[in-house]
Amino acid sequence: MTQATMTAACPECDAPVELTRHPLNGQIANCTQCSAELEVTNTAPITFELAPEVEEDWGE
């Protein structure tokens, strides 16, 4: 897989966010520039959206 397919823009600050392994939908990444928590919503091409905020019933 080429480097180009492993990087996509942060939806918050537009900085490039790189994934270190093959992406899967729902995977979480962090933008190193603005610290936004991102979720992979598409893998070809890679698309990020802001990850949902923690909800009351989330946990282990």
């Binding site: 899967l24 939908n25 729902g26 995977q27 979480i28 009351e56 989330w58 946990g59 282990e60």
Partner: protein, 302 residues
């Protein structure tokens, strides 16, 4: 054999589990529960799976999806009854009491006024917790009557209906840490101590994890606690009480373990994957036998 892993977020744990399934040669399909429409009358593509391991972050999604999947006859890990018990602190307390597993004393009340009586029965300090909640959220220590009145009134006035269960636990003066035992298939596989300068020792609240020895007492208590809830896989949290000894505080049905692998040297993800595969294999064999028996019955009938 095929396994589905339901999820809402693919965190490090879920990636580790998928890698572990791949490493042991098991076909495991991640299924985003947020994009799924269930038909309770028709299992459709779910019939392809011999077991489902639930890794949804949302308890609501977990309970609903596992309820439907078990309705299809699919073996879920953990089973619905175990999830219901582990996810509700009151249900956990009752299960532990019924199984004679030592656990902190608890009082339950329905409003702020009786809640204050409950606190005073236990003595100060006491701890109030939401019955459903995780990561140490909304857990509060009430050191005196002023604090208790304030917290109970706020909980009653501002909380949702679910926050109006006043689950109050005796405060255990633990030695700056609690203990977590990972139990897989009825066997304790690893133990960590979670240490913090704060009295709340969840790693989600900044506590650090360190591997510790699995003593016979830890093994015994964690096995009995997991058995009390019927969980295939659980993280059992224990408190070291200076006067009462080890007490089981709670169990987690969908445990996080990313920070515990390196410090314990135990590949927790692989243990979980192997156990899930064993369950799926057993269930697959049972389903095959049932199908064969049905065919024989039909042949005899015709």
């Amino acid at each position: 054999m095929r396994i589905a892993m339901t999820y809402t977020r693919l965190r490090t744990e879920e990636r580790m589990l998928l890698d572990a399934f791949e490493n042991i040669g098991v076909d495991a399909t991640p299924v985003d529960i947020r994009k799924t429409v269930f038909d309770p009358m028709d299992q459709g593509e779910w019939s392809a799976y011999d077991a489902v391991i639930d890794r949804s972050l949302s308890l609501t999604n977990t309970l609903n999806s596992v309820r439907i999947l078990e309705g299809y006859g699919i073996r879920c890990i953990n089973p619905l009854s175990a999830i219901e018990t582990c996810s509700d602190k009151l249900a956990t307390t009752i299960a532990l009491i019924n199984a004679d597993v030592p656990t902190p004393r608890v009082r339950v009340a329905t409003n702020a006024q009786s809640g204050l009586q409950a606190v005073e029965q236990l003595g100060y300090p006491a701890v109030i917790k939401p019955t459903v909640g995780s990561w140490g959220r909304l857990v509060a220590r009430m050191n005196d009557q002023d604090a208790a009145e304030a917290i109970l009134e706020h909980r009653e006035t501002l909380g949702s209906a679910s926050q109006n269960v006043f689950y109050i636990q005796e405060h255990i003066d633990k030695p700056g840490r609690d203990i977590r035992i990972f139990v897989v298939g009825g066997q304790p596989i690893a133990a960590i101590a979670r240490s913090s300068a704060h009295w709340v020792t969840n790693t989600a609240r900044g506590a650090t994890a360190q591997g510790i020895e699995l003593t016979d007492e830890l093994r015994d208590l964690s096995i009995r606690a997991a058995m009390a809830t019927g969980a295939d896989i659980a993280a059992v949290d224990l408190l070291e009480c200076p006067s009462q000894g080890l007490l089981v505080n709670e169990l987690n049905h969908s445990m996080e373990f990313r920070n515990s692998i390196e410090t314990t040297g135990v590949n927790i993800a692989e243990h979980v994957a192997r156990h899930a595969a064993e369950i799926a294999e057993t269930h697959m064999a049972t389903r095959t036998q049932s199908s064969a028996a049905q065919l024989v019955h039909e042949a005899i009938s015709t």
